[in-house]
């Protein structure tokens, strides 16, 4: 498999295909959304997990030709540790107090961590596989294996895959990669771990 593009985001900054830029202060995803002049009002309805995953995918895919043409051959397979915990705790506040009990449907819909795969699929017209898995920690081996195994579906020829993690009180932690089925064996555990640790190959 071949690694085509990647983006790493952590508390230290953003590495887009190895090129570093500082993280905007505050809500980095919203700052970049505004900076890039994107028009996608649904962004503001998303929970934090969706916003960061969606915005990172925007940066990653920005240069692609025919980007919004509907396609079924690209899977979106994401992993994280905390699921939708950030949003779950927010939803819980809408039902916690019996005297102020107003469960919010707009928050409830984001209490599923796979919604971020759906948001990316909707934006880009991806009608292929979308999957979300939880692991105790970032695991380059399992991520690479899972993406290789996803090619057992003959309909899948490329993947947007990676780690999109946010948790209350912690810095966001992302590594998104665009890979395809071509034989160039730079998509492996060693390289993925290198990207996670250093942001570049």
């Amino acid at each position: 498999m071949r690694l085509l593009q990647y983006i790493r985001v952590n508390s230290e900054g953003i590495w887009l295909n190895g090129r570093f830029s500082a993280l905007p202060t505050g809500d980095w995803a919203e700052a970049l959304y505004r900076q890039d002049g994107i028009q996608y009002p649904k962004f503001f309805k998303m929970d934090h997990l969706c916003r960061i995953g969606w915005m990172a995918s925007e940066l990653l895919l920005a240069g692609e030709n025919d980007r919004f043409e509907p396609r079924t051959d690209r899977a979106v397979i994401l992993f994280n540790r905390s699921g939708s915990l950030c949003n779950d705790t927010q939803y819980q506040t809408t039902i916690q107090d019996p005297d102020n009990y107003f469960p919010s449907p707009a928050l409830f819909v984001y209490t599923l961590p796979n919604i971020v795969t759906g948001e990316i699929a909707i934006r880009n017209g991806y009608r292929g596989e979308t999957s979300c898995y939880l692991l105790p920690d970032f695991d380059a081996g399992i991520l690479v294996e899972t993406s290789r195994q996803a090619l057992q579906d003959p309909g899948t020829r490329s993947l947007l895959t990676g780690w999109v993690e946010c948790a209350p009180g912690q810095s966001d932690d992302l590594l998104l990669c665009l890979v395809d089925a071509e034989t160039e064996e730079n998509w492996n555990e060693k390289n993925l771990l290198q990207l996670y640790r250093y942001g570049h190959l």
């Binding site: 009002p41 649904k42 503001f44 309805k45 469960p103 707009a106 819909v109």
Partner: protein, 95 residues
């Protein structure tokens, strides 16, 4: 408790408040109350609202005005426009 509007100035103020509240709960980024035309449909074109927004407006009705809409289908009539919604709230509000 129950508020009623005896003149059009009060009603206009109420509509402005209502629009500000809609913008807030539906996260309509960059919009101001004056961007929403009182007579135009809330759903369909225009604001780009969807089924989740309709459900969230149902919560707004209950939370702010004590009005319970049991069936989401009933929302269609009530959420036609700001004019219709403001009128409906004024007639049915319990707080």
């Amino acid at each position: 408790m129950k508020k009623t509007y005896y003149n059009s100035i009060d009603m206009d103020t109420f509509k402005q408040e209502l629009k500000a509240e809609i913008i807030r709960v539906l996260n309509l980024d960059g919009m101001q109350p004056d961007d929403i035309n009182d007579a135009e449909p809330l759903f369909g074109e225009g604001l780009g609202l969807d089924s989740i927004d309709a459900l969230e407006l149902i919560v707004l009705l209950e939370k702010n005005y004590g009005i319970k809409l049991e069936k989401p289908e009933d929302g269609k009539a009530v959420f036609q426009s700001v004019n219709v919604l403001a009128d409906y709230i004024t007639r049915n509000r319990k707080k």
